[in-house]
Structures are given as C-alpha cells and as structure tokens.
C-alpha cells in the first residue's frame, strides 16, 4: 500500500483493474437535457445524454470545444447557472437521483458523494488563504462539522494520498508549482471519499512531465478509495493512457461509448474514426489528416444527425432523421444510422 503512494512507475494494464468494477453501477446518467436561453436563441447544450459508470471504472469524455463535455460535468453537479437550465433527466449517484434533491441535500452530496475538480481549478485556489485552511473549509461546508483534530487529520491524509508533503498544509498557493497546486485540488476533491470524481481538463495547463505525474496521482487515488473517475478532456492520448471507457461527444450528444481498446483500434462512429485518424503519432510523420468543415453552432444545428454535413459516410436518412443511441455490442453504444438495427 505504501509503495503505491511513493511509486511513480508505470501503472498495471487496464484489464486487471476492471475486475473490481463488476459491482453495481455507482453512477447512472439518464436522458440528461440542458438548454441555454441566450439573446440569440436557444442552444441545446446536452441532448438526451445517458451513460453508466461502475465502481472503480474510469470513463473519459472526449469532445471538442462546444461539444458539451464541461456542461455535462456542471449538470451532474447541478451547477448550471442561468441562462442555462437543466430540463430533464436523472443523475443517480449513491442510490439517489441528484436531480430530485433539495438544494441543501445537494450541497451535502457535492464532495461527499460526487466531487468535481473544475478546469483551471489550480488557478482558483484562494491566494490569500493557506492551503490547509482551504481544505478545512471544504470539509466544513459539505459535511457535518467534526472536531478540529478530526478535520485536520482528514486533510493531512488527503495531502498524503496525493503525494504532497504535510508541510504544504501551511503554505500559500503561490508557493507551489503548477503540478502541486493541481494535486491540492485533487486532494480537496477526495477529502470526503466520494464515490465519483469528475476531473475537468485537470492537466491542460501543465507540461507533459507534470501531466503524467498528476494523472498517476489520480490513478493512485482512485485505487485507494475505489472511486469511479470521469476524465473530461480533448486529448485522446491522455485518454488512451488513463481510462477504461471512452465516450465521444459531438454537438451536445454522446455519439459513441466504447472501451478504450475498441475506441482506438476500431472506432465505429464516423466522427470517432475521423478523430482517431487525425491523431499524430510517430509512424506517420508529415501526414496531416484533419476533419473538414466546422463544428456546428448549437443555436443552429443541422437537421437529422448533427454530424452529417461533415460525415464521409452519410446516407440519405442522416439529413432527415436524428439517430438514437443504440447498443452495438456488449458495452458499446453508437448514435449513428449506419449501426441502427433494422426496423
């Protein structure tokens, strides 16, 4: 156990870990819908989004800007602010539908059942408070107040789990490096041992070496408290190295969910395929493959399938009818007419 804390060696292959995930689902998102009401019209940021997450599983949500991935995280935490509104759907975590809770219970659920590490969290650490005080604050605002020593004990063990020296407790944010600040944010996220941790682009501002360190920390944390992790990002490489399952989002919908291996070796949805083939790797120097066209504005989505104007394999029905998410094999879901069962 101790070696896991200090060891930064390569993580074991994914297949072994999946065994622990056979338990009942720890998070179920069903038909989540979020709409933004803006001056220029209504934008459907999330459209009928559903997925399941088991304990110990790591899910990656990939998408480009505007695809809805950050909105997804905020919606699950019920942190959508006007002009956005959650219009429907359920988020079942810890046996309870979070959408049905009153605001006080939801506040308690945040951090204790489901924790969120937002994008740019490390820059949002309070610059005039010591790190330790912020950890203590987080506990006090989301859980019943235990005695001071119990709270501090929790903070210290959280710091230790992210491999930070206990002296960090008394430091200020500006005294820490980017990677260390991000690990403080992770520590805040795990203070109350949540069942689900949502990390939104946790490494986007970090260099490649620190990125690896932080991801290995999240990995180790996840194993220690057996939480499920949702990693939101746009870096497919990071997904390949870290997650078990990948969900690809486009224009507010999930277009494919597959295991990591299936997604990288044999993606089904044309958008996933285009994404995978546009990735640079060491074997195809100088070959650049991009996806033609532009992502559509959410205010003015194309008819039928939102991807059809850019799709190399679009058929006639794609421009008239919206495809629905369907299971194409065990655990794999695709939202595409090419894989729809014959009616």
């Amino acid at each position: 156990m101790l070696s896991m804390l200090t060891d930064h060696q390569a993580s074991p292959p994914t297949t072994i870990r999946l065994k622990s995930g056979d338990a009942a689902p720890v998070l179920q998102v069903r038909n989540l819908e979020v709409t933004y009401y803006t001056d220029a019209g209504r934008a459907k940021a999330l459209d009928d989004v559903s997925f399941t997450l088991r304990s110990g599983e790591k899910l990656g949500i990939v998408g480009e800007s505007g695809s809805g991935k950050s909105t997804m995280a905020l919606a699950m935490m019920r942190m959508i602010k006007p002009p956005g509104r959650i219009e429907g759907g359920q988020v079942i975590a810890g046996g309870v539908d979070l959408m049905s809770l009153d605001s006080e219970s939801m506040r308690k659920a945040r951090l204790s059942t489901i924790a969120y590490i937002p994008q740019g969290a490390m820059n949002s650490l309070n610059p005039v408070m010591r790190v330790g005080a912020q950890l203590v604050d987080a506990i006090k605002s989301h859980a019943q107040t235990d005695s001071k020593s119990v709270i501090e004990g929790r903070c210290m063990s959280a710091l230790k789990s992210v491999d930070l020296d206990p002296s960090v407790f008394r430091m200020y944010a500006h005294e820490l490096s980017g990677g260390m600040k991000q690990r403080v944010c992770i520590a805040i996220g795990i203070l109350l041992s949540p069942q689900v941790i949502i990390a939104d682009e946790p490494t986007s501002a970090l260099d490649v070496v620190t990125q690896r360190q932080v991801m290995e920390t999240i990995d180790s944390i996840q194993r220690q408290i057996n939480a499920a992790v949702i990693l939101i990002g746009h870096d497919m490489g990071l997904m390949a190295q870290f997650v078990d399952k990948v969900a690809v989002m486009y224009a507010g919908r999930i277009v494919e969910i597959s295991s990591a291996r299936e997604m990288f070796n044999d993606p089904k949805h044309p958008y996933s395929r285009a994404l995978i083939s546009s990735l640079p790797n060491l074997d195809n120097k100088g070959v650049f493959q991009s996806i033609p066209g532009l992502a559509p504005s959410l205010l003015r989505l194309p008819s039928g399938c939102a991807f059809h104007p850019r799709c190399a394999r679009a058929i006639e029905i794609c421009s008239t009818r919206r495809p629905n998410p369907e299971a194409i094999s065990s655990g794999r879901i695709a939202t595409c007419h090419l894989f729809a069962r014959q009616l």
């Binding site: 060696q9 480009e64 490649v208 497919m236 390949a240 994404l275 990735l279 790797n281 060491l282």
Partner: protein, 334 residues
C-alpha cells in the same frame, strides 16, 4: 552571403530586489544561426520555465538580451532605427498561442489583417487589400464572408487561430516565430494549422521557429529541434533522431511522458523526481532531477556531438567531441 538570423551567445537574466539581489537566468548562452537560403523549421521544445517564451520575446525584439547579440540579416536588432526597423518588423512575424488575446476586442477581426496591410503598404487599393485577405483566409480553410465583419467573441477558437495564421500568410515574412500555435486549438484543427505552416516554409520560403512543449507536433513539422530546460540547451539535432532516440536524460523523460494515443505504447517507464521550486544551482540545470547525476555534473556540461546531427549536453557522453555553442547551428543544418 549573410545569415537570416544569428543569436550570438544570448543570455537573459531577470533581476529583482535591491542591488539586483534576486536573479533568475531565463536563458544561458544560447547561440544559433538560420541560413537565409535554406528556409527550415526549427523546433524549440521545453516546459514552462525553460526560457522558450523569453526566446520568442527576444527574437521579436520585445526585450533586450542581457548579454549577447541578436543579428538579423547582418544588423544588430537593438540598433535598428527608422526604415530598417520597419523592414525588420515586416519580415519577422509571429503566431501566438491564445487565439483570443491577439484580437483587439473593440474592432472586428478584419482589424487584425487590415492594420498590417496598411502599415506595411501591402496593397495599393482597398480592393487589392480585400483580395489579399480573401486569398489568405481561403488558404486556411475559412470562408471570408463567414468571418469578416465579425467580432472576435462571435467566432470559435479554431476560427480565430486560423485567422492568425492567415495573417502570417498574408504578410509572408522571412522569419515566423510560432509560439505554441496549436496548443489551444482542438485536435481536429491542429493538422490544418500545422499543414499551413509547413506549406509556408516549403512553398514560400519562410523560416519558422516553432516553439512548443508538445514533442508530437514538433516531430511532425520540424526538421531540427533544440530541447531547453531552465534556459540551457539539453539536447539538439535532427528531430527524428532526437525524439526516436533521445540521449539526454531530460529528453528521455519528456519522450517517455508523451501520452501516445496507443494502448500498447505506455508512458512512464522512467520515474519522475519532483522539481525543486527554486534551486538556482551551479552546473547542469537538470541535475536535481536526473537519475544519472554524477559528481562532475556540478559544473555546466558542454555540448557533446553524439551523431552526425545530434548533440547532447550531458557528461554521459563525455568521450565524444565537444561542440562550441556557436557551432550548434552547423550541426543542425549538416
């Protein structure tokens, strides 16, 4: 035969406090040369704090070096005045990282393109100017009618960055400093932008200095690479060689930490030692994190030539012939 660009023993030190008590060396004794007749793409790779941004600022003439000279086409850029300075400005351009920050929010995006056309007199009439703008925008895959006349906040990040690259295309500089041009852009658009940059070099003879922390994109676009860490050169050479066969422990750590989108190519075989926050140590900048650190590393290692187009500043290669910093460029263009 004059070189396009020469950095002669450039150092940049930032000092603070009374009597310059606290100082931070952003760059230490960097030299390089770019040949005028051989436009190339040189990647400068490093993490934050490596000095790569300082290098960009120096090359653009926004800051002055503490020691050393920057010579553009035979003239020291700190001494340029008048017309010569305007010529320098015209011929040395940049593409920056943040697609939004380069736009003046008060104006439409056209402003980014019209101002240089006007100042450098690139067109004789409004129609000609518009024609050039259309041409540049189409070349980066945008439809002029979709973007001209709009404000920056009305366009997506990808569109904005493409307009930035269009600006470079329009100006056709001799030297383009690209400072992380694709790091804030979606993956599917990166290929497009990188390809445009490569075409600039190949078809229009523009030399590009591509500054990045992302070795993957550097690999795809550059011919040579210099790896910086805390202001010093760690490794340099042909980009294929350096990335596929890194010799310096730091480069090795970098390459090892690249998240490949390939489940069979795992990162993280080498352990990471945390960076000490301050440490302005003598000797090799990487010493405190290096698993191979030796006693001799307390003195600054010189560059050793370890291949035809490959050099490493590490005592692990001490038996190899030394390379003076000034000769680094010969090695890169060999």
């Amino acid at each position: 035969m004059v070189n396009l660009l020469e950095l002669r023993n450039i150092s940049k030190v930032y000092s603070r406090g009374l009597f310059n008590a606290q100082s931070k060396t952003a760059l230490h004794d960097i030299s390089l040369t770019l040949n005028e007749n051989d436009p190339t793409i040189l990647a400068i790779a490093g993490e934050s704090g490596s000095g790569k941004t300082t290098l960009a600022m120096l090359l653009l003439g926004f800051v002055q070096p503490t020691t050393g000279q920057i010579v553009y086409r035979g003239r020291d850029i700190s001494r340029l005045k008048g017309t010569e300075r305007t010529i320098f400005r015209r011929e040395v351009q940049a593409v920056f990282q943040d697609p939004f920050a380069v736009f003046n929010p008060f104006y439409t995006v056209d402003h980014l393109l019209t101002v240089p056309i006007q100042r450098f007199k690139l067109a004789k009439s409004k129609a000609e100017a518009r024609g050039k703008m259309d041409e540049a925008l189409t070349a980066v895959g945008l439809r002029p009618e979709d973007v001209l006349g709009r404000f920056p906040h009305q366009l997506s990040g990808g569109q904005r960055q493409r307009i930035n690259v269009a600006r470079a295309l329009l100006l056709k500089p001799r030297l383009l400093i690209a400072d992380e041009p694709v790091s804030m852009v979606d993956a599917s658009l990166r290929a497009n932008i990188l390809e445009t940059l490569r075409n600039l070099q190949r078809d229009h003879g523009v030399s590009i200095i591509y500054i990045t922390h992302d070795l993957t994109t550097a690999y795809h676009i550059a011919k040579s690479i210099i790896v910086l860490y805390r202001g010093s050169v760690m490794e340099a050479g042909d980009v294929d060689t350096v990335i596929k066969n890194p010799q310096h422990p730091y480069t090795g750590l970098l390459v090892d930490s690249i998240p490949w989108p390939d489940l069979d190519r795992r990162w993280g075989e080498r352990p990471i030692k945390a960076r000490e926050t301050d440490a302005s140590l003598e000797g090799c900048a990487f010493r405190s994190r290096c698993p191979e650190a030796m006693e001799i590393c307390k003195t600054q290692p010189p560059l050793f030539r370890i291949g035809l187009r490959h050099a490493s500043a590490c005592y692990l290669h001490a038996e190899q012939p030394r390379v003076a910093p000034e000769c680094l460029s010969e090695l890169l263009s060999a």
